[in-house]
């Protein structure tokens, strides 16, 4: 952890440049192994902050090959992460642990 903390603080200074403008935010909720939003429209070319609340009693992993994102959200927990800036297009995502029901798509335009 110590090493990653040092690395992180080094990298923080690199990343600080883009942190000034407010990023669009999306609130996403998972209940009964389904996302409340199955289509998320976001502006292309802008970084977007996703806040995912898991109301289920089991953990889930937000997973998207096209968004290059993987984020575990614990039972009853909340997870925050960033996507993009994206080129215009459709980016499917899923809850990997319940891929049959937990499906959605980010549309950047």
């Amino acid at each position: 952890m110590k090493i990653s903390c040092i690395a992180a603080s080094l990298l923080l200074s690199l990343a600080a440049t883009g942190a000034l403008a407010a990023d669009p935010e999306v609130n996403l909720t998972l209940k009964d192994h389904r996302f409340d939003l199955t289509e998320i429209k976001v502006p292309a070319g802008q970084r977007v902050k996703i806040t995912l609340r898991n109301l289920d009693s089991t953990p889930e992993e937000f997973h998207s090959d096209s968004l290059n994102r993987e984020k575990v959200v614990t039972a009853g927990g909340t997870a925050t992460f960033f996507i993009g800036p994206l080129k215009p297009g459709k980016y499917p995502f899923m809850g990997e642990f319940n891929a049959k029901t937990a499906q959605g798509v980010v549309i950047a335009e």
Partner: protein, 276 residues
């Protein structure tokens, strides 16, 4: 049950292929089986601890604890893999020349090999903690019996282990000279892949910019979800739609390892005249 087998297989595949490569690369090393098994068990024990502490880890660093943790794990693994490659560039020829009596050469480089044990433990730790969470979720969800979950999990694990074994068995059948080039090449690619994964975790937490998302899109040709895509991803870090920062880290790490290996090769031999 099939669902759990598929997910467990997917999560173990990467760790299994890493173990396969490392088991091949350390062929002939005395006591190798013991420390490979020991590293796997350490990784499994760590996975359970990390899964138990999932909430605490997730809440560290303002909610980005998991990204920092994962990035730390893969960056340490990348550094150790890179170090091993460079060490092998220096000593691989001696090893190849005296493959039957590697004892002495290996003793001098035992640190370089034990670094690989750490890589195994870290690979199992990272993939394993997600598998534990998933299986726990299945059990807690109550739709499947413990027996079904265990059966599915074991089937997935067996599939992953088989893939790792096939890679191992293929590598050890290569002639000695090609063998060192192939295993070292695979380890260099693993190092690059780990570095790019680290960049991905940090950009997910907004600690690094993505630069371009995606930089290119090959998903129509070779999607990440296909069998070949998954295998290439586990072996060489293939992604159909990588972000710019992943590509930068991948290319930088690969170039650094290749250049360092070339420089080290040109150094005069420290011991007896090298058997050019």
């Amino acid at each position: 049950m099939l669902n759990s087998a598929v997910i467990v297989f997917r999560e173990c595949l990467e760790a299994a292929l890493i173990i396969g490569i490392i088991a091949a690369a350390t062929r002939g090393l005395p006591g190798r089986a013991r420390w490979i098994v020991g590293s796997v068990m350490a990784g499994v024990a760590g996975s359970v601890l990390v899964a138990l502490g999932a909430d605490e880890i997730a809440n560290l660093a303002e909610g980005y604890g998991r990204e920092l943790f994962n990035a730390g794990v893969v960056m340490i693994a990348a550094a150790m893999l890179a170090w091993h490659c460079i060490w092998m560039a220096r000593h691989g020829r001696e090893l190849a020349a005296s493959a039957r009596q590697v004892g002495q050469a290996v003793a001098s480089g035992s640190a370089a090999f034990s670094a690989l044990g750490t890589v195994i433990a870290l690979a199992v730790l990272r993939e394993g903690s997600e598998t534990v969470l998933f299986l726990y979720g299945l059990l807690a969800g109550g739709e499947q019996s413990a027996f079904q979950v265990a059966l599915g999990g074991l089937a997935g694990l067996a599939g992953g282990a088989l893939a790792g074994y096939i890679l191992y068995a293929g590598a050890v059948r290569l002639p000695m000279k090609a063998f060192f080039a192939v295993t070292n090449g695979l380890i260099a690619l693993l190092a690059a892949q780990m570095a790019s994964q680290g960049a991905r975790f940090l950009s997910q937490a907004d600690l690094l910019p993505t630069l371009a998302a995606p930089l290119w899109d090959l998903s129509a040709w070779l999607p990440d979800g296909s069998v070949i895509g998954r295998t290439l991803n586990a072996l060489a870090g293939y992604r159909a739609m990588p972000s710019g920062i992943e590509v930068v880290f991948y290319a930088t790490m690969l170039a650094a390892v290749v250049i360092a290996m070339e420089l080290v090769r040109r150094l005069p031999s420290p011991s007896a005249p090298s058997p050019a």
